[in-house]
């Protein structure tokens, strides 16, 4: 066992978890699974949750403070960050479009989805998180009474509580409608310590971290040095913690999957139903990623660099794309990406050596797209309708959190937990999509790498330093 690489072990844990779920649901051991195995899955999620906030906080501060070169390079720096931001937003937009049109979560059995929804409402109640996002309460709707389990029956709200929730909903709606800019207002924390002590205020934490990081760059170096050293140290500690937790991940993943599935399904057919939905999810995600690589990037390039032919672009970039696919790490691919961009594309070294390393940490088009698709898929699976505003929060959190999380191993998993929390969905749901995360991760990296290369080409062109294609 010792020699096996960690992701293989996690895979084994995954498979065992699913197998266990089948066995326990067919033998009626779900009660045992929920009592004695599921808690370890919960512990795993809690560990990642508590690491997430400080990790994001300190890694963003460190990351932004480390971007001090950007300010020195002035125009070029601004342009680079701007371009990265635009491509990320576009990629996420593509993801949202795909997932909302295809609706992969609805391909699952209707009955199972209603059950999912009911257990989600139970979870909300247990955590005192108020009414569900769309304001409906399936628990109290007589139309769904036939699906209720006994414990859920017991938790039905009384008339009085329902009225209370109605009133709160009204108040919340009024507040929401007061101004379309409300979500920007909500990004600014009233009290930083309050924001970091609440997992759902991640955007405020990110806002503070970026602001703090920029300020560090602006104060005198000798004053900033101890703070930077402290932030770097804390950052290293939390990355180490992720590392430690991940050592136990195979076991935890087993418990998580077994527990989550046991809670959602009582019979093997139901277990099967849950995983059936994954196929449509994977296809939607792949469709979105393919669209970005094969249509969006070439399209943008066509617009600004008309002389670059469609096929030539891919011929130039293919070595980096293949390596990205097999390593699923844009940092590991960086040297090859630079080579491709410089030798094949003809981007001068002065630009590529500046733009690409930033891109490898900041620009995560594929990852952000994946977050958007995955979260909305999971919401669909649980019959939770998210409004456009709620979807935009997801986009925002996902793209901003990627600034810091990029350097962290297993960043995808932690980011997903962050995003789910910030929109008030159950973070344990990551278990559902975890089984096929690894192959999708490989595809995401291709998009990330291609995006970096595209942006560096665009920057070179706009600086008039792309002689090969002008």
């Amino acid at each position: 066992m010792k020699k096996l690489p960690i992701h293989i072990k996690i895979l084994i844990g995954l498979v065992l978890g699913v197998v266990w779920a089948f066995i326990s649901s067919s033998l009626g051991w779900n009660d045992f699974t929920i009592k004695w195995i599921d808690p370890f899955g919960t512990i795993f999620i809690r560990l990642l949750k508590f690491i997430a906030v400080p990790l994001v906080l300190f890694s963003i501060i460190g990351g932004v403070a480390g971007l001090s070169d950007v300010s020195k390079l002035g125009r070029l720096g601004g342009k680079t960050l701007g371009a990265y931001m635009v491509t990320t937003v576009l990629a996420v937009g593509v993801g949202l479009l795909f997932v909302n049109i295809i609706k992969p979560g609805t391909y699952m059995d209707e009955e199972q989805r209603i059950k999912n929804r009911l257990s989600f409402e139970m979870w909300l109640q247990e955590n005192n998180m108020g009414p569900a996002h769309d304001g409906k309460s399936y628990l109290n709707d007589p139309a769904y009474a036939q699906y209720l389990t006994e414990s859920q029956m017991a938790n039905k709200l009384s008339e009085e509580q329902q009225r209370d929730i109605q009133e709160k909903m009204e108040a919340a709606r009024e507040q929401k409608e007061s101004s379309p800019l409300m979500f920007i207002v909500n990004m600014v924390p009233e009290n930083v310590l309050l924001s970091i002590s609440n997992n759902r205020l991640m955007l405020q934490v990110i806002f503070f971290a970026i602001f703090f990081g920029i300020t560090i760059v602006l104060i005198p170096k000798e004053k900033a040095a101890p703070i930077i050293a402290f932030v770097d140290g804390v950052n290293a500690i939390f990355i180490k913690m992720v590392d430690l937790v991940m050592k136990a991940a195979p076991f935890f993943v087993f418990a998580l999957l077994a527990g989550v599935v046991a809670k959602m399904a009582n019979t093997p057919t139901e277990v099967y139903e849950i995983f059936k939905g994954l196929g449509s999810y994977a296809l939607t995600l792949l469709g979105g990623l393919a669209f970005v690589v094969f249509i969006m990037y070439p399209g943008i390039l066509k617009l600004f660099v008309p002389k670059l032919k469609y096929r030539e672009f891919f011929k130039n970039m293919s070595p980096a794309q293949f390596l990205g696919f097999s390593t699923s790490s844009s940092a590991a691919t960086l040297p090859v990406t630079m080579e491709c961009v410089e030798d094949n594309m003809g981007v001068p070294k002065s630009i590529s050596s500046f733009v690409l390393p930033i891109g490898a940490t900041v620009n995560m088009d594929g990852t952000s797209l994946h977050q958007a698709v995955a979260v909305i898929f999971m919401a669909q699976l649980h019959m939770v309708d998210l409004t456009i505003g709620q979807q935009l929060t997801i986009v925002f959190t996902a793209s901003l959190a990627s600034i810091g999380a990029a350097a962290v191993p297993s960043a995808g998993l932690i980011m997903m937990i962050i995003v789910l929390q910030s929109v008030g969905l159950n973070p344990a749901w990551v278990a559902i999509i975890f089984p096929i995360d690894r192959p999708l991760d490989m595809c995401r990296t291709v998009v990330n790498v291609t995006g970096d290369a595209t942006v560096s080409t665009l920057i070179a062109k706009s600086e008039g330093e792309l002689p090969k294609y002008s």
Binding site: K35, R46, F50, P54, N199, G233, A236, I237, K240, M241
Partner: protein, 437 residues
């Protein structure tokens, strides 16, 4: 005043508080004055101690683990600590059970008083039972789950979540050991500085201890007496035998069990131990709060008993949440007392159930507010005794809480001394010089 030892000053404060309280209950206006203008200073004292508990545990445990420098030693220490916690808990329950079986305080309770008490404390009992019912619906592994914080900063804002802070600090310490040295130095020196600052703050607060204790005791007397002092004494008198049994049990823990533990498993003499820990015991008695006393206990154990910070920062916060010898003993006595008063005979199996559930409840209800009585309800139900019976023992609750907190603290301190001694982290020479300060 300057030359006087700390514990003497605290004792004087307590005595004066007692005298003042006795006088105050004779004059209604003075009683009101005490509650309005003296009690707040006691509360301020407790609050200021609680204020530093979380940062102290966090900082001292992080550097403690980083100084141990060896994870296998850490896990050995952890195993040892938990083992001793469980053993002392079981012993304390056993002592409680045997005492109550011999003295039979429940049979000495007149029927009339029983009815009286039951109706008087009916509502309080109800509320405790409902909390206990909530606690019981949690899964068996829930305590383990709740040891892991889901947000560190949230955990740090709640004294009840001390166990989560301990867990987090352990993890930080371990991670700190494994990252490159040059990255860790700044963080380590930051926490070192923080630790020193907090310790200094504790020492400042302790200068106020005699006054704080005076205020607490004076207010306590006035509050217990209430509007009708005679009736209050009557109530307490009716439960005199029960109170005596509990206090006797706690006394045995102090003068027999802990001395044996210290004598056979450490190199320090019990007298020195007792001298060193005195101030913390007195504070535990007058605040009846383990969390508030924790900073002082840590200070005494490290700076006066010669226990290394690595050990004390690990054992004491853990002990404050899960090792409650006094509380466990009290539960054993109370359970049987209630059974006796209600005329129930308990089988050996039921008594064993009490030992088992009381031990588990000590760990399982860590962080539940008002845990003592909630735990008792769980124990009663496990032994098949009507939980409404806790109404019988409500009257002396405040006083017994004080005594058992004192025992809880002494227990934690002696475990830390034993663990330190067996790990070679106890400086006896240092202790001899500083116990009296």
């Amino acid at each position: 005043m300057k030359k006087m030892a700390l514990h003497t000053k605290i004792l004087i404060g307590m005595t004066l508080g007692l005298i003042f309280g006795m006088i105050a209950i004779q004059f209604p206006w003075l009683g009101g004055f005490t509650l309005d203008y003296i009690k707040p200073f006691g509360t301020i004292f407790i609050r200021s101690l609680k204020m530093v508990a979380v940062p102290l545990v966090l900082a001292s445990l992080i550097i403690g683990v980083a100084n141990i420098g060896d994870i296998s030693k850490l896990s050995r220490m952890g195993g040892k600590t938990l083992g001793i916690f469980i053993i002392t808990t079981v012993i304390s329950i056993a002592i409680g059970l045997s005492l109550v079986a011999v003295l039979k305080p429940g049979h000495k309770l007149p029927e009339e008083t029983r009815q009286n008490l039951m109706s008087l404390y009916d509502a309080t009992a109800e509320s405790k039972i409902s909390v206990a019912a909530e606690v019981k619906t949690r899964g068996p592994l829930q305590p383990l789950v709740e040891m892991v914080p889901d947000n560190v900063f949230l955990a740090a804002t709640n004294n009840g979540r001390m166990l989560q802070i301990v867990f987090f600090a352990l993890l930080v310490g371990v991670a700190l050991l494994q990252i490159p040295k040059e990255k860790g130095t700044t963080v380590l020196s930051f926490f070192n500085g923080l630790n020193e600052v907090v310790i200094k703050i504790v020492q400042y607060i302790m200068l106020l201890a005699p006054y704080g204790v005076f205020a607490l005791i004076a207010a306590l007397i006035v509050e217990i007496a209430g509007d009708q002092p005679e009736k209050a004494w009557e109530l307490l008198y009716a439960l005199l035998w029960y109170t005596i049994t509990v206090v006797l049990g706690l006394f045995i823990m102090m003068v027999a069990i802990y001395p044996i533990l210290i004598r056979y498993f450490s190199k320090i003499s019990y007298l020195d131990f007792f001298k060193g820990i005195r101030p913390a015991m007195l504070l535990g008695f007058s605040t009846s709060s383990s969390t508030a006393t924790l900073p002082v206990t840590m200070d005494r154990v490290e700076k006066h008993l010669g226990v290394s910070e690595e050990v004390s920062s690990f054992v004491l916060p853990l002990g404050a949440t899960i090792n409650m010898n006094g509380t466990s003993l009290y539960q054993g006595v109370s359970a049987i007392f209630i059974a006796q008063a209600l005329g129930l005979e308990l089988s050996i199996a039921a008594q064993l159930a009490i030992v088992l559930t009381a031990t588990l409840a000590a760990v399982g209800t860590a962080g539940v507010p008002g845990a003592g009585l909630v735990m008792l309800v769980i124990v009663l139900e496990a032994a098949g005794i009507p939980a409404a019976g806790i109404a019988l023992i409500m009257a002396p609750e405040r006083i017994l809480d004080m005594v058992r907190t004192m025992v809880n603290i002494t227990g934690d301190a002696s475990v830390s001394v034993v663990v330190a001694s067996t790990e070679g982290e106890l400086d006896v020479e240092f202790a001899k010089k500083h116990v009296n300060e």
